[in-house]
Amino acid sequence: MSDLISTQDLTKRFDGLVAVNQVNFSLQEGQVAGIIGPNGSGKTTLFNLLSGFFPPSAGRITFCGKDITKIPPHKRVGMGMARTFQLVSVFDSLTVWENLVLSTIRFKRDQQSVQSFFFAPARKRIVVDDCLKSLELVGLEKKASARTSELSYGEKRMLEIAIGLSLKPRVLLLDEPLSGLSDHEIGGVLDLIHRVKKNFALVIIEHKISKIVSVVKKLSVMNEGKILCEGDPEQVLRDPAVRECYWGKEEENCST
Protein backbone atom coordinates (compact mmCIF):
# COMPACT_ATOMS: atom_id res chain seq x y z
CA MET A 1 0.00 0.00 0.00
CA SER A 2 1.33 3.44 -0.85
CA ASP A 3 1.86 6.04 1.82
CA LEU A 4 -0.70 8.77 2.42
CA ILE A 5 1.89 11.02 4.00
CA SER A 6 5.61 10.62 3.86
CA THR A 7 8.42 12.99 4.69
CA GLN A 8 11.96 12.78 3.42
CA ASP A 9 14.68 14.12 5.70
CA LEU A 10 12.31 16.83 6.89
CA THR A 11 14.24 19.44 8.88
CA LYS A 12 13.32 22.72 10.59
CA ARG A 13 15.86 25.03 12.15
CA PHE A 14 15.00 28.04 14.31
CA ASP A 15 18.17 30.14 14.49
CA GLY A 16 20.68 27.60 15.96
CA LEU A 17 18.02 25.19 17.25
CA VAL A 18 17.11 22.17 15.14
CA ALA A 19 13.50 21.57 16.17
CA VAL A 20 12.87 18.83 13.61
CA ASN A 21 15.92 16.94 12.43
CA GLN A 22 15.88 14.81 9.26
CA VAL A 23 12.60 13.16 10.06
CA ASN A 24 11.29 10.40 7.81
CA PHE A 25 7.74 9.94 8.91
CA SER A 26 5.15 7.98 7.01
CA LEU A 27 1.50 7.19 7.42
CA GLN A 28 -0.71 4.86 5.48
CA GLU A 29 -4.25 5.42 4.32
CA GLY A 30 -6.62 4.84 7.23
CA GLN A 31 -3.85 4.30 9.74
CA VAL A 32 -4.03 5.65 13.29
CA ALA A 33 -0.61 6.78 14.45
CA GLY A 34 0.57 8.27 17.72
CA ILE A 35 3.52 10.57 18.34
CA ILE A 36 4.96 10.94 21.81
CA GLY A 37 8.04 12.63 23.14
CA PRO A 38 9.19 14.97 25.90
CA ASN A 39 8.44 18.70 25.87
CA GLY A 40 10.24 20.55 23.11
CA SER A 41 11.06 17.40 21.17
CA GLY A 42 9.56 18.86 17.97
CA LYS A 43 6.14 17.19 17.79
CA THR A 44 4.14 20.37 17.22
CA THR A 45 6.78 21.67 14.83
CA LEU A 46 6.41 18.48 12.79
CA PHE A 47 2.66 19.15 12.57
CA ASN A 48 3.31 22.75 11.59
CA LEU A 49 5.53 21.53 8.77
CA LEU A 50 3.00 18.95 7.62
CA SER A 51 0.16 21.47 7.58
CA GLY A 52 2.34 24.10 5.93
CA PHE A 53 2.58 26.69 8.69
CA PHE A 54 6.34 26.86 8.33
CA PRO A 55 8.42 26.16 5.28
CA PRO A 56 10.90 23.40 6.10
CA SER A 57 14.60 24.27 6.20
CA ALA A 58 15.29 21.09 4.25
CA GLY A 59 13.53 17.96 3.13
CA ARG A 60 10.28 17.15 1.38
CA ILE A 61 6.71 16.25 2.24
CA THR A 62 4.59 13.99 0.05
CA PHE A 63 0.84 13.73 0.48
CA CYS A 64 -1.38 11.46 -1.63
CA GLY A 65 1.57 10.89 -3.92
CA LYS A 66 2.13 14.61 -4.56
CA ASP A 67 5.01 16.74 -3.38
CA ILE A 68 3.29 19.37 -1.21
CA THR A 69 6.40 20.95 0.30
CA LYS A 70 5.68 24.30 -1.32
CA ILE A 71 1.89 24.21 -1.23
CA PRO A 72 0.19 26.77 1.07
CA PRO A 73 -1.77 25.58 4.12
CA HIS A 74 -5.28 26.21 2.80
CA LYS A 75 -4.61 24.13 -0.29
CA ARG A 76 -3.36 21.26 1.83
CA VAL A 77 -6.68 21.39 3.66
CA GLY A 78 -8.36 21.25 0.28
CA MET A 79 -6.36 18.12 -0.51
CA GLY A 80 -7.60 16.50 2.66
CA MET A 81 -5.23 17.38 5.49
CA ALA A 82 -6.95 18.83 8.55
CA ARG A 83 -5.48 19.61 11.94
CA THR A 84 -6.26 20.80 15.45
CA PHE A 85 -4.03 22.80 17.75
CA GLN A 86 -2.35 22.16 21.06
CA LEU A 87 -4.15 25.22 22.42
CA VAL A 88 -7.71 24.97 21.15
CA SER A 89 -8.27 27.17 18.13
CA VAL A 90 -11.88 28.07 17.31
CA PHE A 91 -13.38 31.46 16.46
CA ASP A 92 -14.67 33.07 19.62
CA SER A 93 -16.26 35.92 17.70
CA LEU A 94 -18.61 33.57 15.84
CA THR A 95 -21.32 31.19 17.00
CA VAL A 96 -20.75 27.44 17.15
CA TRP A 97 -22.80 27.00 14.02
CA GLU A 98 -20.97 29.70 12.10
CA ASN A 99 -17.68 28.06 12.98
CA LEU A 100 -18.88 24.91 11.30
CA VAL A 101 -20.42 26.58 8.28
CA LEU A 102 -17.14 28.40 7.60
CA SER A 103 -15.42 25.05 7.47
CA THR A 104 -17.68 23.99 4.60
CA ILE A 105 -17.12 27.08 2.50
CA ARG A 106 -14.36 25.45 0.57
CA PHE A 107 -16.95 23.06 -0.86
CA LYS A 108 -18.87 26.03 -2.21
CA ARG A 109 -17.52 25.73 -5.70
CA ASP A 110 -18.65 22.12 -6.03
CA GLN A 111 -22.22 23.13 -5.37
CA GLN A 112 -23.66 25.35 -8.00
CA SER A 113 -26.59 26.41 -5.87
CA VAL A 114 -24.42 28.16 -3.34
CA GLN A 115 -22.95 31.06 -5.20
CA SER A 116 -24.58 33.14 -2.55
CA PHE A 117 -23.54 36.35 -0.94
CA PHE A 118 -25.54 35.96 2.23
CA PHE A 119 -24.69 33.77 5.11
CA ALA A 120 -28.25 32.87 6.03
CA PRO A 121 -29.10 30.96 2.81
CA ALA A 122 -25.68 29.37 3.04
CA ARG A 123 -26.79 27.97 6.36
CA LYS A 124 -29.74 26.34 4.78
CA ARG A 125 -28.15 25.07 1.63
CA ILE A 126 -24.47 24.40 2.07
CA VAL A 127 -24.09 20.86 3.31
CA VAL A 128 -26.18 21.71 6.28
CA ASP A 129 -26.65 18.06 7.05
CA ASP A 130 -22.94 17.54 7.30
CA CYS A 131 -22.60 20.35 9.80
CA LEU A 132 -25.40 18.93 11.87
CA LYS A 133 -23.92 15.48 11.71
CA SER A 134 -20.55 16.73 12.89
CA LEU A 135 -22.21 18.58 15.75
CA GLU A 136 -24.23 15.55 16.79
CA LEU A 137 -21.16 13.40 16.62
CA VAL A 138 -19.44 15.57 19.22
CA GLY A 139 -22.63 16.12 21.22
CA LEU A 140 -22.86 19.87 20.71
CA GLU A 141 -26.05 20.03 18.66
CA LYS A 142 -27.90 21.82 21.47
CA LYS A 143 -25.28 24.55 21.57
CA ALA A 144 -25.37 25.32 17.86
CA SER A 145 -26.45 28.93 18.25
CA ALA A 146 -24.35 29.63 21.34
CA ARG A 147 -21.45 32.06 21.16
CA THR A 148 -18.26 30.07 21.00
CA SER A 149 -16.75 32.21 23.74
CA GLU A 150 -19.39 30.82 26.12
CA LEU A 151 -18.27 27.21 25.67
CA SER A 152 -16.10 25.42 28.22
CA TYR A 153 -12.59 24.42 27.22
CA GLY A 154 -13.70 20.82 26.75
CA GLU A 155 -16.60 21.87 24.53
CA LYS A 156 -14.29 24.05 22.46
CA ARG A 157 -12.02 21.06 22.01
CA MET A 158 -14.99 19.06 20.78
CA LEU A 159 -16.01 21.86 18.44
CA GLU A 160 -12.49 22.03 17.06
CA ILE A 161 -12.61 18.31 16.32
CA ALA A 162 -16.08 18.70 14.77
CA ILE A 163 -14.66 21.37 12.47
CA GLY A 164 -11.89 18.96 11.55
CA LEU A 165 -14.49 16.31 10.74
CA SER A 166 -16.60 18.59 8.59
CA LEU A 167 -13.55 19.38 6.50
CA LYS A 168 -13.89 15.77 5.30
CA PRO A 169 -10.20 15.04 5.70
CA ARG A 170 -8.20 12.09 4.50
CA VAL A 171 -6.01 12.61 7.50
CA LEU A 172 -6.68 14.49 10.71
CA LEU A 173 -3.73 15.68 12.77
CA LEU A 174 -4.63 16.06 16.45
CA ASP A 175 -2.13 17.97 18.60
CA GLU A 176 -2.61 16.85 22.21
CA PRO A 177 -6.39 16.53 21.95
CA LEU A 178 -6.65 15.37 25.56
CA SER A 179 -4.61 18.08 27.26
CA GLY A 180 -6.46 20.32 29.68
CA LEU A 181 -9.53 18.07 29.78
CA SER A 182 -11.17 16.36 32.74
CA ASP A 183 -11.22 12.55 32.91
CA HIS A 184 -14.83 12.57 31.84
CA GLU A 185 -14.09 14.75 28.82
CA ILE A 186 -11.07 12.63 27.92
CA GLY A 187 -13.43 9.65 27.80
CA GLY A 188 -15.65 11.59 25.40
CA VAL A 189 -12.80 12.49 23.04
CA LEU A 190 -11.41 8.94 23.04
CA ASP A 191 -14.85 7.57 22.34
CA LEU A 192 -15.21 9.99 19.47
CA ILE A 193 -11.84 8.98 18.06
CA HIS A 194 -12.92 5.35 18.18
CA ARG A 195 -16.09 6.17 16.29
CA VAL A 196 -14.50 8.20 13.50
CA LYS A 197 -11.18 6.45 12.98
CA LYS A 198 -12.59 4.18 10.30
CA ASN A 199 -13.27 7.17 8.03
CA PHE A 200 -9.76 8.57 7.67
CA ALA A 201 -6.21 8.36 8.91
CA LEU A 202 -5.31 9.98 12.22
CA VAL A 203 -2.12 11.23 13.80
CA ILE A 204 -2.36 11.94 17.51
CA ILE A 205 0.27 13.75 19.54
CA GLU A 206 -0.11 12.90 23.17
CA HIS A 207 1.67 13.06 26.47
CA LYS A 208 -0.38 10.48 28.27
CA ILE A 209 0.72 7.39 26.36
CA SER A 210 -1.49 5.10 28.36
CA LYS A 211 -4.57 6.91 27.08
CA ILE A 212 -3.90 6.40 23.42
CA VAL A 213 -2.02 3.15 23.37
CA SER A 214 -5.24 1.24 22.79
CA VAL A 215 -6.17 3.42 19.80
CA VAL A 216 -2.98 3.73 17.82
CA LYS A 217 -1.59 1.06 15.54
CA LYS A 218 1.76 2.73 15.16
CA LEU A 219 3.70 4.78 17.68
CA SER A 220 6.60 7.15 16.99
CA VAL A 221 8.75 8.51 19.77
CA MET A 222 10.43 11.84 19.15
CA ASN A 223 13.37 13.19 21.05
CA GLU A 224 15.38 16.33 20.29
CA GLY A 225 13.85 16.65 16.84
CA LYS A 226 14.51 13.07 15.75
CA ILE A 227 12.33 10.02 15.62
CA LEU A 228 13.99 7.82 18.18
CA CYS A 229 11.99 4.72 17.55
CA GLU A 230 8.76 3.72 15.88
CA GLY A 231 6.52 0.76 15.18
CA ASP A 232 4.11 -1.39 17.10
CA PRO A 233 3.17 0.50 20.30
CA GLU A 234 3.84 -2.38 22.70
CA GLN A 235 7.26 -3.01 21.24
CA VAL A 236 8.19 0.64 21.08
CA LEU A 237 7.37 1.12 24.72
CA ARG A 238 9.63 -1.80 25.61
CA ASP A 239 12.60 -0.28 23.78
CA PRO A 240 15.31 0.60 26.32
CA ALA A 241 16.21 3.92 24.61
CA VAL A 242 12.58 4.97 24.76
CA ARG A 243 12.26 3.98 28.37
CA GLU A 244 15.28 6.05 29.22
CA CYS A 245 14.28 9.18 27.34
CA TYR A 246 10.57 9.04 27.93
CA TRP A 247 9.71 7.03 30.97
CA GLY A 248 12.69 8.46 32.77
CA LYS A 249 11.32 11.93 32.27
CA GLU A 250 7.80 10.83 33.02
CA GLU A 251 8.85 9.47 36.36
CA GLU A 252 10.50 12.77 37.13
CA ASN A 253 7.29 14.52 36.18
CA CYS A 254 5.30 12.22 38.36
CA SER A 255 7.50 12.67 41.37
CA THR A 256 7.42 16.47 41.18
Partner: protein, 277 residues
Amino acid sequence: MIHTIVYGFTIGAILYFIAIGLSLTFGMMRVINFAHTLTYTLGVYMLVSLGALFKGYFVIAAMIAVVVVIPISYLIERCIIRRLYGESLDHTFIATFAIALIGVDTIKWIWGVLPYPLSDPIGEYLTIGGLTLPIYRIVIVMIAILLFIGLEFFFRKSIVGKIVVAALEDRDGVGCLGIDVDHYFSIVFMMGSALAALGGVLYAPISSVHPYMGLSILLLCFAVVIVGGMGNLRGTFVSALALGMIMAVTARYWSQGAETMVFIVMAIVLIFRPIDI
Protein backbone atom coordinates in the same frame (compact mmCIF):
# COMPACT_ATOMS: atom_id res chain seq x y z
CA MET B 1 -22.18 75.15 19.53
CA ILE B 2 -24.49 73.20 17.19
CA HIS B 3 -22.21 74.39 14.42
CA THR B 4 -19.24 72.89 16.15
CA ILE B 5 -21.06 69.61 16.64
CA VAL B 6 -22.01 69.35 12.97
CA TYR B 7 -18.44 70.21 11.96
CA GLY B 8 -17.13 67.64 14.38
CA PHE B 9 -19.37 64.96 12.97
CA THR B 10 -18.31 65.86 9.43
CA ILE B 11 -14.64 65.44 10.23
CA GLY B 12 -15.41 62.31 12.20
CA ALA B 13 -17.30 60.87 9.25
CA ILE B 14 -14.38 61.54 6.89
CA LEU B 15 -11.93 59.99 9.34
CA TYR B 16 -14.21 56.98 9.55
CA PHE B 17 -14.24 56.45 5.78
CA ILE B 18 -10.47 56.39 5.67
CA ALA B 19 -9.82 54.53 8.91
CA ILE B 20 -11.88 51.43 8.00
CA GLY B 21 -9.41 50.28 5.37
CA LEU B 22 -6.43 50.88 7.64
CA SER B 23 -8.03 49.04 10.49
CA LEU B 24 -8.97 46.01 8.38
CA THR B 25 -5.57 45.83 6.70
CA PHE B 26 -3.84 45.91 10.02
CA GLY B 27 -6.29 43.63 11.77
CA MET B 28 -6.25 40.95 9.09
CA MET B 29 -2.80 41.08 7.64
CA ARG B 30 -0.67 42.94 10.19
CA VAL B 31 0.37 45.45 7.56
CA ILE B 32 0.58 49.15 8.45
CA ASN B 33 -0.56 50.61 5.19
CA PHE B 34 0.73 54.10 4.49
CA ALA B 35 -0.17 53.61 0.83
CA HIS B 36 -3.72 54.29 1.95
CA THR B 37 -2.96 58.02 1.58
CA LEU B 38 -2.41 57.42 -2.09
CA THR B 39 -5.86 55.98 -2.75
CA TYR B 40 -7.39 58.80 -0.76
CA THR B 41 -5.52 61.55 -2.60
CA LEU B 42 -5.91 59.85 -5.94
CA GLY B 43 -9.67 59.79 -5.50
CA VAL B 44 -9.60 63.52 -4.92
CA TYR B 45 -7.47 64.28 -7.98
CA MET B 46 -9.65 62.07 -10.12
CA LEU B 47 -12.55 64.17 -8.92
CA VAL B 48 -10.68 67.32 -9.87
CA SER B 49 -10.17 66.11 -13.43
CA LEU B 50 -13.56 64.49 -13.80
CA GLY B 51 -15.29 67.45 -12.21
CA ALA B 52 -13.92 69.61 -15.02
CA LEU B 53 -15.28 67.08 -17.49
CA PHE B 54 -18.72 66.66 -15.93
CA LYS B 55 -19.35 70.27 -15.01
CA GLY B 56 -22.21 70.50 -12.58
CA TYR B 57 -22.61 66.77 -12.12
CA PHE B 58 -20.69 66.34 -8.90
CA VAL B 59 -22.28 63.02 -7.99
CA ILE B 60 -21.34 61.38 -11.28
CA ALA B 61 -17.79 62.71 -11.17
CA ALA B 62 -17.44 61.58 -7.55
CA MET B 63 -18.73 58.11 -8.27
CA ILE B 64 -16.43 57.58 -11.22
CA ALA B 65 -13.49 58.89 -9.17
CA VAL B 66 -14.16 56.29 -6.49
CA VAL B 67 -14.56 53.48 -9.02
CA VAL B 68 -11.33 54.38 -10.82
CA VAL B 69 -9.40 53.95 -7.60
CA ILE B 70 -10.49 50.31 -7.24
CA PRO B 71 -8.33 48.78 -10.00
CA ILE B 72 -5.39 50.92 -8.89
CA SER B 73 -5.73 49.62 -5.36
CA TYR B 74 -5.96 46.10 -6.76
CA LEU B 75 -2.58 46.60 -8.42
CA ILE B 76 -1.07 48.01 -5.24
CA GLU B 77 -2.30 45.00 -3.27
CA ARG B 78 -1.22 42.47 -5.86
CA CYS B 79 2.20 43.87 -6.60
CA ILE B 80 3.35 45.23 -3.25
CA ILE B 81 1.16 44.71 -0.20
CA ARG B 82 0.82 40.98 -0.90
CA ARG B 83 4.56 40.56 -0.61
CA LEU B 84 4.54 42.09 2.85
CA TYR B 85 2.37 39.50 4.58
CA GLY B 86 4.26 37.97 7.43
CA GLU B 87 7.01 40.60 7.25
CA SER B 88 7.95 42.59 10.32
CA LEU B 89 5.96 45.75 10.94
CA ASP B 90 8.82 48.11 10.15
CA HIS B 91 9.26 46.52 6.73
CA THR B 92 5.58 46.98 5.92
CA PHE B 93 5.83 50.52 7.17
CA ILE B 94 8.83 51.41 5.01
CA ALA B 95 7.49 49.75 1.88
CA THR B 96 4.03 51.31 2.06
CA PHE B 97 5.46 54.69 3.00
CA ALA B 98 7.57 54.48 -0.14
CA ILE B 99 4.44 53.86 -2.19
CA ALA B 100 2.82 56.88 -0.57
CA LEU B 101 5.80 59.11 -1.45
CA ILE B 102 6.01 57.83 -5.01
CA GLY B 103 2.29 58.52 -5.23
CA VAL B 104 2.69 62.09 -4.03
CA ASP B 105 5.38 62.75 -6.65
CA THR B 106 3.33 61.15 -9.38
CA ILE B 107 0.43 63.39 -8.47
CA LYS B 108 2.70 66.44 -8.52
CA TRP B 109 3.94 65.37 -11.91
CA ILE B 110 0.47 64.94 -13.38
CA TRP B 111 -1.52 67.65 -11.64
CA GLY B 112 1.16 70.04 -10.36
CA VAL B 113 1.81 71.27 -6.84
CA LEU B 114 -0.63 74.15 -6.71
CA PRO B 115 -3.76 73.64 -4.64
CA TYR B 116 -7.02 73.24 -6.53
CA PRO B 117 -10.06 75.10 -5.31
CA LEU B 118 -13.23 73.02 -5.22
CA SER B 119 -16.47 74.47 -4.07
CA ASP B 120 -19.28 73.04 -1.99
CA PRO B 121 -21.26 71.07 -4.59
CA ILE B 122 -24.60 71.72 -2.93
CA GLY B 123 -24.02 75.24 -1.74
CA GLU B 124 -27.37 75.43 0.03
CA TYR B 125 -27.92 76.06 3.69
CA LEU B 126 -30.46 74.68 6.02
CA THR B 127 -31.92 77.12 8.51
CA ILE B 128 -33.53 75.71 11.61
CA GLY B 129 -34.38 77.97 14.51
CA GLY B 130 -31.96 80.72 13.55
CA LEU B 131 -29.14 78.27 12.84
CA THR B 132 -27.75 77.99 9.34
CA LEU B 133 -25.96 74.78 8.49
CA PRO B 134 -24.44 73.78 5.17
CA ILE B 135 -26.54 70.90 3.80
CA TYR B 136 -23.43 69.30 2.29
CA ARG B 137 -22.00 68.62 5.73
CA ILE B 138 -25.21 67.04 6.86
CA VAL B 139 -25.17 64.83 3.78
CA ILE B 140 -21.65 63.64 4.60
CA VAL B 141 -22.70 62.65 8.09
CA MET B 142 -25.73 60.82 6.72
CA ILE B 143 -23.60 58.88 4.24
CA ALA B 144 -21.27 57.87 7.06
CA ILE B 145 -24.16 56.59 9.15
CA LEU B 146 -25.56 54.66 6.19
CA LEU B 147 -22.13 53.20 5.56
CA PHE B 148 -21.84 52.12 9.17
CA ILE B 149 -25.19 50.35 8.98
CA GLY B 150 -24.25 48.81 5.64
CA LEU B 151 -20.96 47.50 6.98
CA GLU B 152 -22.58 46.09 10.10
CA PHE B 153 -24.95 44.24 7.84
CA PHE B 154 -22.14 43.08 5.61
CA PHE B 155 -20.08 41.72 8.48
CA ARG B 156 -23.00 40.02 10.15
CA LYS B 157 -24.81 38.57 7.20
CA SER B 158 -22.49 37.94 4.32
CA ILE B 159 -20.09 35.07 3.86
CA VAL B 160 -17.18 37.34 3.04
CA GLY B 161 -18.05 39.35 6.14
CA LYS B 162 -17.94 36.28 8.36
CA ILE B 163 -14.66 35.19 6.88
CA VAL B 164 -13.22 38.63 7.57
CA VAL B 165 -14.48 38.57 11.17
CA ALA B 166 -12.88 35.16 11.62
CA ALA B 167 -9.63 36.28 9.97
CA LEU B 168 -9.44 39.35 12.23
CA GLU B 169 -9.46 36.92 15.14
CA ASP B 170 -7.11 34.29 13.75
CA ARG B 171 -5.88 34.43 10.20
CA ASP B 172 -4.03 31.10 10.25
CA GLY B 173 -7.12 29.49 11.71
CA VAL B 174 -9.11 30.53 8.65
CA GLY B 175 -6.44 28.99 6.45
CA CYS B 176 -6.93 25.77 8.41
CA LEU B 177 -10.52 25.70 7.17
CA GLY B 178 -9.21 25.49 3.64
CA ILE B 179 -10.11 29.11 2.92
CA ASP B 180 -7.69 31.29 0.97
CA VAL B 181 -7.47 34.32 3.27
CA ASP B 182 -5.37 36.32 0.80
CA HIS B 183 -8.12 36.09 -1.76
CA TYR B 184 -10.74 37.49 0.60
CA PHE B 185 -8.33 40.06 1.88
CA SER B 186 -7.80 41.48 -1.57
CA ILE B 187 -11.56 42.06 -1.77
CA VAL B 188 -11.47 43.78 1.59
CA PHE B 189 -8.47 45.83 0.57
CA MET B 190 -10.21 47.15 -2.52
CA MET B 191 -13.29 47.92 -0.46
CA GLY B 192 -11.20 49.84 2.08
CA SER B 193 -9.45 51.75 -0.70
CA ALA B 194 -12.70 52.69 -2.37
CA LEU B 195 -14.00 53.98 0.97
CA ALA B 196 -10.86 56.05 1.46
CA ALA B 197 -11.37 57.53 -2.00
CA LEU B 198 -14.98 58.22 -1.10
CA GLY B 199 -13.80 60.01 2.04
CA GLY B 200 -11.40 62.07 -0.04
CA VAL B 201 -13.98 62.91 -2.65
CA LEU B 202 -16.47 64.02 0.00
CA TYR B 203 -13.94 66.01 1.98
CA ALA B 204 -12.22 67.73 -0.94
CA PRO B 205 -14.88 70.41 -1.52
CA ILE B 206 -14.69 71.60 2.09
CA SER B 207 -10.92 71.33 2.54
CA SER B 208 -8.00 72.15 0.30
CA VAL B 209 -6.74 69.92 -2.49
CA HIS B 210 -2.96 69.52 -2.66
CA PRO B 211 -0.58 66.59 -3.18
CA TYR B 212 0.19 66.21 0.53
CA MET B 213 -3.40 66.29 1.72
CA GLY B 214 -3.40 62.54 2.31
CA LEU B 215 -0.37 62.44 4.58
CA SER B 216 -1.72 64.70 7.29
CA ILE B 217 -5.13 63.09 7.40
CA LEU B 218 -3.59 59.62 7.44
CA LEU B 219 -1.85 60.33 10.73
CA LEU B 220 -5.18 61.34 12.21
CA CYS B 221 -6.68 58.12 10.90
CA PHE B 222 -3.96 56.06 12.53
CA ALA B 223 -4.93 57.74 15.77
CA VAL B 224 -8.55 56.74 15.09
CA VAL B 225 -7.54 53.13 14.48
CA ILE B 226 -5.40 52.98 17.60
CA VAL B 227 -8.07 54.52 19.82
CA GLY B 228 -10.83 52.40 18.29
CA GLY B 229 -8.83 49.18 18.48
CA MET B 230 -7.06 47.58 15.53
CA GLY B 231 -9.52 45.61 13.46
CA ASN B 232 -12.44 46.68 15.64
CA LEU B 233 -15.03 48.10 13.26
CA ARG B 234 -17.53 49.45 15.71
CA GLY B 235 -14.69 50.88 17.77
CA THR B 236 -13.40 52.61 14.65
CA PHE B 237 -16.78 54.26 14.06
CA VAL B 238 -17.08 55.51 17.62
CA SER B 239 -13.49 56.69 17.85
CA ALA B 240 -13.68 58.48 14.48
CA LEU B 241 -16.73 60.47 15.54
CA ALA B 242 -15.32 61.12 19.00
CA LEU B 243 -11.96 62.32 17.70
CA GLY B 244 -13.66 64.39 14.99
CA MET B 245 -15.67 66.05 17.72
CA ILE B 246 -12.59 66.64 19.83
CA MET B 247 -10.95 68.32 16.84
CA ALA B 248 -13.92 70.56 16.19
CA VAL B 249 -14.31 71.58 19.81
CA THR B 250 -10.60 72.22 20.25
CA ALA B 251 -10.48 74.22 17.03
CA ARG B 252 -13.22 76.46 18.33
CA TYR B 253 -11.10 77.62 21.24
CA TRP B 254 -7.58 77.01 19.97
CA SER B 255 -7.48 76.53 16.25
CA GLN B 256 -3.85 75.41 15.98
CA GLY B 257 -4.34 72.75 18.61
CA ALA B 258 -7.02 70.67 16.92
CA GLU B 259 -4.75 67.95 15.57
CA THR B 260 -2.44 68.01 18.54
CA MET B 261 -5.39 67.23 20.76
CA VAL B 262 -6.14 64.06 18.79
CA PHE B 263 -2.66 62.76 19.45
CA ILE B 264 -2.86 63.71 23.10
CA VAL B 265 -6.03 61.62 23.37
CA MET B 266 -4.31 58.79 21.52
CA ALA B 267 -1.36 58.92 23.90
CA ILE B 268 -3.70 58.79 26.89
CA VAL B 269 -5.51 55.80 25.43
CA LEU B 270 -2.18 54.06 24.82
CA ILE B 271 -1.17 54.60 28.43
CA PHE B 272 -4.25 52.79 29.67
CA ARG B 273 -4.54 50.24 26.91
CA PRO B 274 -1.21 49.45 25.25
CA ILE B 275 -1.47 47.82 21.83
CA ASP B 276 -0.44 44.21 21.73
CA ILE B 277 0.80 43.28 18.33
